[in-house]
Amino acid sequence: MKTARIVLVVLIALAGAALAWRVCEGLHVETDVLALVETEHSGSLMELAAGRARQGQLLLEGGDEEQLVKVANVLSEQFKLNTAVDFQKTLRYLAPRTRGLVSAETRELLRAGKFKDVANASAARLFGPVPPLFSVKDDPFLLATDYAMSMQSNLAPGWSLKDGYPVCERGDRHFLLMQCGDLSLEKAEEIMQGAERINGSFAAGFAKIWCCGPVFHTARSTSSAKREINLLSVISVVLVALLGWMLFSSWRFVPQLLVTVGVAFFVAIGALFAFFPCPHVITFVFGVTLIGLAVDYVYHSRSAGGAGKVLKPLTQSLATSLACFAPLLFADISAMRQMALFTMAGLAGAYLCALAWRPNGGDVGRVSRPARPRARGTRAPTFAIGAGLLVIAAMCGICRVKVSFEPSAFYSPGKFLAEGEKRLFELNPMGGGKFACIKGKTLQESLEIEEAAGLRGLSAVIPSLRRQSENVALVEKLKEREGNAYTELTGLKMPQEDTRGFLDVANVEDESLKKVVRSFSPRGKEIVVPCPDEFQSADPRVVVLDPRQAAKKMFARLFISAGKLFYISLAALAVLLIVFFRKKFLDYMSGVGGAVLCTMGMLGWLGIPLTCFTLLCFFVMAGLGLDYVIFHRSKPAPETRRTVLYSFLSSLAGFGMLAFTEFPVTRGMGVTLAFGLFFAYLYSFDEFFRRRRVTSSPEAGKQGRTKNSNASRGE
């Protein structure tokens, strides 16, 4: 025990040093799901996600466009959204910078040599319903006016501007879009609650409000997770404390439990940060399983009257759990290596803490007896038959198990958000959900690459300087070819000198245009543009991203890797069990295998898909489940059974609560762990494998054990 204490102090000191070192450098935790697995374009995808993280849209739907504008103005004022484009201000800013601005349609005509058509259209515009927007002294063909008009729809492709808001019409329904950039999660939640209130009230007849975009999903998930964590953690803690009290009939186990869990987490976090400067947040979520393992060590060492009395099963339990997680250390996915290191270091900490703890208190070695001990000599065929039928029924569900890599299996938005996204998807002409990430050395270069690739993103609003120069040359040709005739027709003179400048994307000062630039280029160099499904580019600087497909690939890779490693874990476990238990290893191994199959079957019956996250739960299940068998068989007495039962119930109270969460990932993990632990516990009974006497006295237990060993030797 003294050695255990020294090793534990050294471990804690090392963990503290590692943490202090990282704290000095600044602790960083990766929270992006896309960072879980490095895929071909995961860097670009993460940039795309980071750029869009705070963006959201409010989609207003109603029968009257005027009404929608009024609602939008009220919302803008109430939530200080500033979503409308002040087109008047933008036009004033543009006025001295329109030299190279020509609409895409006019540019095509000029390039095709259709100068007459352009001149005719210019004359029509000059005398038509909409007067020039800029001075005609420098721009007699009103090409800047034409550009400004086309820019309106380019600001939001497929839409036109009304009073500064993009609007569109589908059948008898009108839609108005409010683009909100840089929304905080609190404000997003406030807006959503307001929108849901309005949609459910009388005002819904005039306008319905839908919230779309990543920020609203994050806000809703965060608030729901906070609510669930608060409620479920309180229930879990109360249940675990109550179960401990029922086992020991005292609260004196609490300090030991708290210290053991605390030490386990401290050592685990220290080890994690020592090797990984920026670990993923999922490691900590998965690491919560340490609590279950630490509870096991405390209960067994305390109920036996000190860890020394259960040193052998405790060590076997640690060794098998380590063997279970060790293969994950060799995973090619960093998050898996992190999970393994975290759990293994934490387990070692909990084990050493259990050994180092000097047992004291009246409850040590005194597990409360069951109220009515079973009668001596009771056989258990009924249990074996019942459990056998249950296991067979559960296993039958395996044929219904589905494996899913679909992002929808990991996140499903609520009805309100899903409705909004569906509507926006139907109204979005780019629809497919693909993005082109254009990587130039400067924003100007990215703009040129976008133009060369034929995409209409930022360059459709602000052309590159090169394209503006080309436009000037085309306009010169127009003047040369049609100038005289046009002067004769309209009375406007051709300017001798153009005093206007170019519009430079890198130095935009107008707020509305700045917003447009930021929406396409959140980081200032690259441009991210929605692109059609069929878009392809040979230019290596243009990367086509399909976030949905990329997420699917990532989850598939995680699943396959976890699956392979689970087989290796089982093999490692089998080797270790042979070393520990020789011929009897199958009794232990079959329990783990059976629990795995039954849990998979139950997932099949419940229609919960097998995902990379539920698969990771099988590692925990194997580690914890094997502990039940090891302890049950180490000393087959009612006290041991009772300790194992309460240890199982505490883990169930901790992990099973996850099954009541809204988030599909944690719900799936909760269900998997709950059934996994239940079947592992069921398989840990001797009665499950053979008919034997269940006794209440240690002597009889010894006798039973001798019988067992004789039976296993085939005597």
Binding site: E105, T106, G128, V130, P131, P132, F134, V136, L161
Partner: protein, 55 residues
């Protein structure tokens, strides 16, 4: 949509004129710094002071 009327570039549906000369257009715009024209869908605002646009 409004835009198809305004940017009649390249098609044959050039809108009928609402003024007959550039002089008439100049007269129409005179004295207004915030001349707002609404067509079916769009609100157009003149950029800047246009009093010297045609001089």
């Amino acid at each position: 949509m409004g835009r198809s009327v305004i940017t009649g570039v390249g098609n044959n549906n050039i809108p009928q004129p609402i003024v007959n000369s550039v002089h008439e257009r100049e007269e129409q715009l005179r004295g207004s710094t915030n001349f707002i024209i609404r067509d079916m869908h769009n609100t157009i605002t003149i950029a800047g002071n246009h009093t010297d646009w045609f001089k």
